[in-house]
């Protein structure tokens, strides 16, 4: 049924275009209430109870709640709590929320979707009795408020029809807008503010804590600490006439009073300093910036400055510390465009993990919260549970930042667990890196095959049967998600081998558009923490049915080549297959099998052939210009019960590592070529852009100091000069050079072939014109898609709509790249966490190398552990030579690539930011270098000086040295 009444909505756009849109009003929209006697509801269409029990002391009769837009936008944490039910969400509200914040929109949709919550979304905009037209001159917001009031009063009368008077549920309008409340009261609508309502709710402890302290930030001009932000209209016109600039604010990690923003039209990012310069911008916010005239430009302070430990109240302290540090630079090259934030275009706030800093006053409800992310300022929250929360990791949401508050206001969301508890710490890592890690939902688990699933005979018939071939897998020890297996055997032609790479056939189980598929796509990748793995697909698939275990029949997607002795590819074919891996080996076992000349079984022969071919393939690849890069990867030995790390060491690399890698690369390239041919528009590929020359600046300088000219013009020349840069007697030098080269690189990214030109497909690091990911479908979603495309290409499976949709592919690539990056960061954070646990009771003296020279520190790497961190140098002892990136103290010069001896210990003074402290041991700098105890005794006068210096340092620096010194004494 559709009504024939048409309304015209007029909108004006840009160059004044009148747009007339149809707007149909309907008479078939339901109110969703079981108390209704009018609408033709079907049984399953009742959402709201006939007689809802009131939980609010202010309204002791049955009622439904109608919320306004700001309540949904700001109080989503309250709404998500299982407390308020029988709530009507109007379409007017939903659309405004969608427009303003997609994340909250998704969350409110989830609440509406949860049947138990009894949230009903009423389409008031298309209901013939609740639609209101915008009056001439009326603001959109006012019209929307009027629409909300209209719907509220409609419900009231609608429910009273055919009902005993006073028996039907009433409507309570929840809004924090005083003007709106007043008008509603005039119209006879019962209304209430969120605060009043929630504070009078009985039986839900902690609900009040979740109330957002949303104050209209610019309204508090009394006692204002910060200048007011410009209005959106002022910002808009400022940007249009070029006076203001738009950019994303990046807070400094080291200095809480400093940040930068990248804007168009300036090569360098704009420096923003001080409380006023930053003016309440939070890391990630989109801000409007006014750039100062050039004579006021400064240089970044390069100092470490943390917010004070105690709560100074709503005062902005003197910024002299900062201002002293930022004397205008003499060197023109050093200054950076400087400016200030004048307005916020869009907040990019999320929920933050951290710890509570309870107020010193007993019984106080206002406390400070310190986020784990250093770039985020402290937050003022209100809670009555501070005693309980003080020992917990908690999650907090930001609400607003009024002009008269030193800190932004926020509210408590939930507790994650005790500080220091391994699970709670892991939870923090996962949340901070936006890693989806909830348990798999019922809907997802329902997509799984039964636990005792075996390959059905008809499936075997459809596939190439490779069960009789000796296939084996080679992986790191303890690997349970085995993606790949290999084989090689001679063919009838002499000197030609058949080589196969067999990849777990995940897409046989993960069918498109199922709940399982959607979940895997959203997760995008398996995330590996040191002691925990967050699977992309449920365990049954990842560690069992898909994993190519030794001795078990498994489904696989095979890529089989004919390769001659010189590693030339003669033919390539792809097919789905059934395999039975002869052995699941570790790299070490495989290496032993190859080296043990007494072994002559099929596995050993196969491995030897593979190894031989892999070496030739690798040589070809390197000759082509592929870069051999290095990164200091470390491995923890973890206690199997407590999950505490026991030992850390740099990862060992064996021949067999590179053997497996070589064939995986080959398979990926072969698949990429095939996909690009068959799907020119929507093949999922991976590219690695060549780095811009600016990335190499510091690297080249450091290499030159060591006497090497590195040619970075092409990857081929780069690779060649890296190979030649060897210092006899310093075997680690070349590795270090490669580690540093890695850091000059760009990120490799997934993309859809239709969105880039063929030249852009190039993979710089691998020096191949086209590349993709095919070999790890258990732990990467990109590979799942590639499997589907390849299956369609060879006719083994049908395509489906989303697979060939270019726009969908682009959106998917964005998610893949984002998740991929976040997973890497999460992994690193986990390594840092475990390092800290490991060094809790340990102090070591180790050899180290300098990776980079900073103004007040050296970035050092400990090759043995693959650990790196800053070694701070006091500025009154060391002089920084900016031109040559050197730190000089007397006759000691420290520069990149120098080898040092350092002392490693853990500084736990700050529970959230525990860090490894590196102290210089060698070369010996009197008064600065750490002197081991026994030496001190031998040289008493030295100790005197040392102690004095220590004291000096204590005062100057943070309390770092104190902590470590205590520990060393204990030892």
């Amino acid at each position: 049924m559709w009504t024939t009444k048409t309304f015209l909505t007029k909108t004006k756009r840009g160059n004044i275009l009148k747009i007339v849109r149809e707007h149909y009003l309907r008479d078939d929209l339901l109110c969703g209430s079981a108390a209704c006697n009018v609408c033709p509801h079907k049984d399953d269409e009742y959402v709201l109870d006939p007689k809802p029990e009131s939980i609010c002391a202010l309204f002791d009769y049955p009622h439904y709640l109608v919320l306004d837009t700001n309540v949904v936008l700001h109080q989503i944490d309250v709404l998500e709590e299982d407390a308020l039910t029988n709530v009507i969400i109007l379409q007017t509200v939903l659309e405004e929320v969608k427009h303003q914040n997609t994340a909250i929109f998704q969350r409110i949709l989830d609440v509406i979707g949860n049947k138990k919550r009894k949230f009903y979304s009423f389409v008031n905009e298309h209901h013939k009795d609740t639609y209101v037209e915008r009056n001439p001159g009326e603001k959109q917001n006012d019209r929307n408020d009027r629409a909300i009031r209209k719907a509220a009063s409609w419900y009231e009368t609608h429910l009273s029809i055919n009902n005993v008077k006073g028996q039907h549920p009433k409507i309570v309008l929840i809004t924090d807008d005083e003007k709106n409340r007043k008008m509603a009261q005039e119209e006879g609508i019962t209304c209430c503010s969120v605060k009043d309502y929630v504070e009078n709710v009985n039986g839900f402890v902690g609900l009040v804590d979740k109330l957002s302290k949303n104050v209209i930030p610019e309204s508090c001009s009394k006692d204002a600490l910060y200048p007011a932000h410009l209005t959106p209209a002022e910002i808009h016109s400022g940007i249009r006439n070029g006076k203001l600039h738009q950019g994303t604010f990046h807070a400094s990690r080291d200095n809480f009073l400093e940040g930068t923003a990248t804007v168009n039209g300036y090569e360098k990012s704009i420096l923003l300093q001080g409380h006023i310069g930053i003016n309440r911008a939070v890391d990630g916010d989109l801000v409007a910036i006014e750039v100062f005239p050039e004579e006021e430009w400064r240089k970044p302070s390069d100092i470490v400055l943390e917010d004070k430990a105690d709560d100074p109240g709503d005062l902005l302290e003197e910024e002299s510390v900062l201002l002293n540090a930022v004397k205008p630079a003499d060197n023109k090259n050093e200054i950076t465009p400087t400016g200030k934030v004048v307005g916020i275009i869009r907040r990019k706030w999320r929920q933050y993990c951290g710890i509570l800093l309870p107020s010193k006053f007993p019984g106080a409800t206002r406390h400070l919260f310190t986020p784990a992310e250093k770039r985020i300022p402290r937050v003022r929250i209100e809670t009555r549970q501070s005693d309980m929360l003080a020992s917990q990791r908690i999650l907090v949401a930001l609400d607003s930042w009024p002009r008269n508050s030193r800190y932004p206001l926020g509210h408590f969301v939930r507790a994650l667990g005790p500080i220091g508890d391994k699970d709670a710490e892991n939870e923090v890592i996962l949340l901070e890196h936006d890693v989806p890690h909830a348990r798999f939902s019922e809907a997802v688990l329902a997509c799984l095959p039964p636990n005792d699933w075996t390959i059905p005979p008809e499936e075997i018939k459809k596939r190439v049967d490779l069960r009789s071939i000796c296939i084996c897998s080679v992986d790191p020890p303890g690997c349970t998600d085995i993606d790949d297996a290999l084989h090689a055997r001679p063919t009838a032609t002499a000197g030609v081998y058949e080589v196969g790479v067999h990849i777990a056939d995940v897409t046989h189980f993960v069918r498109p558009a199922t709940a399982l598929d959607k979940e895997a796509a959203s997760r995008s990748t398996t995330v590996y923490l040191v002691d925990k793995r967050i699977d992309m697909v449920p365990d049954l698939l990842s560690s069992n049915l898909c994993s190519l275990r030794g001795g078990e029949e498994r489904l696989a997607f095979s890529c089989v080549w004919e390769i001659d002795e010189n590693a030339n590819i003669l033919s390539t074919k792809f097919h789905k297959s059934v395999i039975k891996s002869a052995a699941a080996m570790t790299y070490e076992e495989a290496q032993i099998a190859i080296d043990d000349s007494s072994r002559n079984d099929e596995i050993a022969r196969s491995l030897r052939t593979l190894n031989k071919l892999a070496k030739k393939l690798k040589k070809k690849r390197l000759d082509n210009g592929a870069l051999l890069l290095a990164s200091p990867e470390i491995r923890f030995q973890v206690d199997s019960e407590t999950h505490e790390p026991l030992e850390v060491q740099a990862k060992k690399i064996m021949d067999t590592n590179s053997m497996v890698e070589e064939f995986m690369l080959l398979a990926n390239v072969s698949v990429a070529q095939r996909l690009a041919e068959d799907f020119p528009q929507c093949a999922l590929l991976r590219r690695h852009p060549s780095p811009p020359p600016a990335n190499f600046e510091h690297f080249l300088l450091a290499a030159r100091q060591q006497g090497f000219e590195i040619d970075v013009s092409t990857n081929k020349s780069f690779s060649k000069s890296l190979d030649e840069a060897v210092i006899p007697g310093r075997p680690y030098f070349n590795i270090l050079l490669r580690i540093m080269a890695t850091r000059c690189m760009m990120q490799a990214v997934y993309f859809s072939s239709g969105n880039h030109t063929q030249e852009e497909y190039y993979h710089y690091g691998l020096a191949c014109p086209i590349y993709t990911h095919f070999t790890s479908p258990i732990r990467r979603y990109a590979d799942v898609l590639v499997h589907r495309l390849l299956a369609a290409s060879i006719g083994a499976d049908v395509t489906h709509a989303e697979l060939l949709d270019v726009r969908y592919a682009a959106a998917l690539c964005d998610n893949l790249n984002y998740r991929h990056r976040q997973a890497q960061y999460a992994g690193r954070a986990s390594v840092a966490l475990n390092t800290h646990i490991l060094f809790k009771y340990r102090v070591e003296i180790e050899s180290a190398v300098v990776l980079a020279v900073k103004r007040n520190a050296l970035q050092v790497l400990i090759p043995k552990y693959g650990l790196e961190g800053p070694l701070y140098l006091p500025s009154d002892m060391f002089t920084y030579n900016e031109e040559n990136h050197m730190q000089i103290c007397g006759d000691v010069t420290l520069k990149t690539f120098d080898e040092l001896t350092v002392r490693l210990s853990l500084d736990s003074t700050n529970l959230q930011h525990r860090k490894l402290v590196f102290q210089l041991v060698k070369p010996f700098v009197p008064g600065f270098s750490y002197v081991p105890e026994e030496q001190k005794e031998k040289k008493p006068e030295q100790m005197e000086v040392d102690k004095e210096q220590e004291n000096l340092k204590k005062r100057k620096d943070t309390a770092q040295s104190k902590g470590s010194k205590k520990k060393s004494k204990k030892k």
């Binding site: 009148k18 149809e22 707007h23 270019v806 969908y808």
Partner: protein, 253 residues
């Protein structure tokens, strides 16, 4: 390529229609006296005029002994879209539309009845808001009926699109009678001209690629639209005739 965000979580489209609903259609036959048949038709905010001349003797160049030659001319008024553009008659787009119109209408007209003759059909889009072709076919059918040209059946045209499943939206679900906003969202638009009573498809056109999986449901939704339109056109014709008879009766008496 289904477009996202075309269908709300409550199952309504941007303008408040359900997926299987047509836009409001209003039409009138006999709006001009000069031509042999004429009609005005509104489909939502898309408004078109159609005029039919003939059958009359064909000009020498076009003459066919097989049957009547159907000559179509499609044009758009300068003021038909938000931005006023001068649209030369006979530009590429108009020519293409004319050809498509001719194909659909020729399929409906009993051409074999009038050899050596010609029928001229002129359609003018007064206001374009998506689905102009469909409105033109529907209006031309009415004008042909008024002109008394024998038809095999009503020829009706309708479009359909595909809404993708997205955050906060239902779907995938085919959408009937695509308006300009929905067209602009970038989804595929499938246009069908059909003779619903006989089940013949006279023309089928698609704006983008559409995956096979969706083709059948989108096509059947468009066909459903053609059947719904036929009902509306039929009622309009009957109303017009009823109105006409009473007037004539009054005149003769």
């Amino acid at each position: 390529m289904p477009a996202t965000d075309l269908l709300s979580s409550q199952g309504l489209r941007l303008d408040g229609r359900r997926p299987n609903e047509l836009r409001r259609i209003r039409c009138r036959l006999g709006v001009f006296t000069q031509p042999d048949g004429s009609a005005y038709l509104e489909q939502g905010n898309t408004k078109v005029l159609a005029a039919v001349y003939g059958p009359h003797q064909a000009s020498k160049s076009k003459l066919s002994t097989e049957g009547v030659v159907v000559n179509c001319q499609y044009s758009m008024a300068t003021f038909s879209t938000g931005e006023r553009k001068n649209r030369p008659r006979g530009d590429r787009k108009s020519q293409e539309m004319s050809m498509h119109l001719r194909q659909a209408l020729t399929a409906a007209i009993k051409t074999e009845l009038y050899p050596r003759s010609q029928i001229d059909i002129y359609v003018e889009v007064l206001q374009a808001d998506g689905g102009a072709y469909c409105a033109c076919v529907n209006a031309a059918t009415l004008a042909l009926t008024e002109a008394g040209v024998p038809l095999r059946a009503y020829v009706c045209a309708s479009s359909a699109s595909m809404a993708a499943a997205g955050a906060g939206s239902a779907g995938p679900e085919p959408l009937l009678d695509v308006g300009h906003v929905e067209e602009a969202a970038g989804g595929v638009v499938l246009t069908v001209a059909a003779l619903p009573t006989t089940g013949h498809i006279a023309l089928l056109e698609m704006s983008h690629r559409l995956h096979m999986d969706y083709f059948d449901i989108v096509l059947s939704r468009a066909m459903q639209g053609c059947r719904d339109i036929e009902v509306i056109l039929d009622r309009a014709v009957r109303d017009h005739l009823a109105e006409g008879w009473t007037k004539q009766d009054v005149m003769t008496i």
